[in-house]
């Protein structure tokens, strides 16, 4: 995972909003990840077209600070579990 990587969710995973817990969740075969707002914001930008640099750029505009390192750390964790793939 680096700034050039174009991350995409695993074909079998989808993001949803859980109205019971009032938070975003990632659902896939026999697995659930409860997402925090930051995680959800990152994953919503993983469309298989934007690179990590572009995703970080959008978030920097939104939050006003450079989040590239955080984005890489977060997506690497999900890639380790094969939930994020290289498009």
């Amino acid at each position: 995972m680096n700034t050039e990587t174009v991350p995409i969710l695993w074909r079998l995973a989808r993001m949803d909003f859980d109205p019971v817990r009032q938070r975003h969740v990632l659902l896939y075969p026999e697995g659930t990840v409860l997402l925090n707002d930051t995680g959800a914001a990152i994953l919503q930008l993983c469309d298989g077209r934007r690179s990590v640099a572009e995703i970080s750029g959008v978030l920097q505009e939104r939050y006003g600070s450079d989040v590239t390192a955080d984005v890489i750390t977060y997506l690497s964790g999900l890639a380790e579990r094969e939930l994020i793939r290289d498009a």
Partner: protein, 366 residues
């Protein structure tokens, strides 16, 4: 932690029926199976699914028995989809015709898990107790053509463990997204058949190596999951992440369990969704509160640092093997009852004769 401070469950397994065309000797259904006339109605199941979602459930397993024997399966899958549940159909593949697979896809079903018994056809059908391979192949073709998320599940034991390499290659060639290799867990029918199912240490060690290698080799193409062989581990498994914490199972007759093996704990009574809401059962029922937290633990668990990791292991196994559900799971090397496990591993000898699961063993009501 106080017993009432329960987290929200994420997973519900709906055991729609105990009826099944297969007779696998390792079946996780209880020996005392429910009859068709005891099964919940379509309306009951819809109510249960709605309540499950309100309680926080996100993952639904439509299971059995063979869930396809229920004619309302498509209706239930559509209801689950409408609620936003991620639904898995856990099936033998028998009865999954192209037409039914298509209707289930339209209903919003996302994931299909099909069981295989072995890579060798004759052995597979001996294990299942019925000719089944051709129907499974047809079901797999439909599942793939319709673009379902697709998992193959294989229970491993003495008769097929030597072919785990071939089984992995077969799953790969069938286009599975995931392969779950599950060493037999000894409850219900599997406990009754333990002598015929127990693998040898050599088989386990060779199987572990092959599975580990496949996990790395197939990474990115097919996810290979490997459920460890309980009786050969040093510490017990953290059953479902703790009793009454994340998981619940509704039996065909509506009784609701914290673990699929829980009916074996004959000292517990299980409430049914015919009488109570799922919310009440989760939060208030005695069975779900019985082993929450750690107040119930005996030594050596009570003072063990691992109690936060594996919660003392499986309560159902502790009861089945020691007669006391609050004892340490005998699988644990620290358990004073661990000799039971050492003894059982010696069962891995001699000819394999199964006591097949069959509803005939449970006579119909007069």
């Amino acid at each position: 932690m106080t017993p009432s401070a329960a987290t929200r469950p994420t997973t519900l397994v709906a055991e729609l029926t105990h009826r099944c065309p297969l007779h696998c000797a390792y079946c996780s259904n209880p020996i005392e199976m429910n009859r068709a006339d005891e099964e919940l109605s379509t309306a009951d199941w819809k109510r249960v699914l709605t309540q499950a979602r309100e309680l926080g459930v996100l993952q639904l397993g439509l299971s059995g028995g063979e869930p396809l024997v229920r004619k309302d399966l498509e209706e239930l899958a559509a209801h689950a989809h409408g609620l936003g549940l991620y639904t898995t159909l856990v099936t033998s593949g028998l009865g999954l015709t192209a037409a039914r697979a298509g209707k289930l896809r339209e209903a919003g079903l996302e994931h299909v898990q099909i069981s295989l018994q072995d890579s060798d056809v004759a052995s597979a059908e001996l294990i299942a107790g019925v000719a089944s391979v051709k129907q499974k192949e047809a079901a797999i073709a439909s599942v793939r053509a319709l673009g379902f998320a697709f998992t193959i599940n294989v229970v491993l034991h003495r008769a097929n463990l030597d072919r785990v390499g071939e089984i992995i290659e077969l799953a790969g060639s069938l286009g599975a997204d995931r392969l779950e290799l599950a060493n037999t867990q000894y409850y219900g029918w599997a406990l009754a058949n333990r002598g015929a199912l127990m693998p040898t240490r050599d088989q386990i060690e060779a199987g572990d190596r092959i599975a580990q290698d496949a996990m790395a080799r197939y990474r990115g193409r097919m996810q290979v999951l490997y459920v460890l062989p309980d009786y050969y581990e040093e510490y017990p498994k953290p059953c479902y992440g703790g009793w009454g914490k994340h998981y619940l199972l509704v039996m065909p007759d509506g009784r609701t369990l914290p673990c699929h093996g829980a009916t074996h704990i004959t000292t517990l009574a299980f409430d049914t969704v015919r009488d109570r809401s799922l919310q009440w059962i989760w939060h208030e029922s005695a069975a779900f509160q019985a082993f929450r937290g750690d107040d119930w633990m005996q030594e050596p668990c009570r003072s063990c640092p691992r109690k936060a990791i594996d919660f003392g292991g499986c309560r159902c196994q502790a009861f089945a093997l020691t007669g006391e559900a609050t004892r340490t799971d005998p699988v644990c090397a620290l358990s004073p009852d661990h000799g039971i496990i050492d003894e059982a591993r010696h069962d891995a000898v001699g000819p394999i004769t199964y006591r097949y699961r069959d509803l005939v063993l449970h006579p119909p009501r007069p």
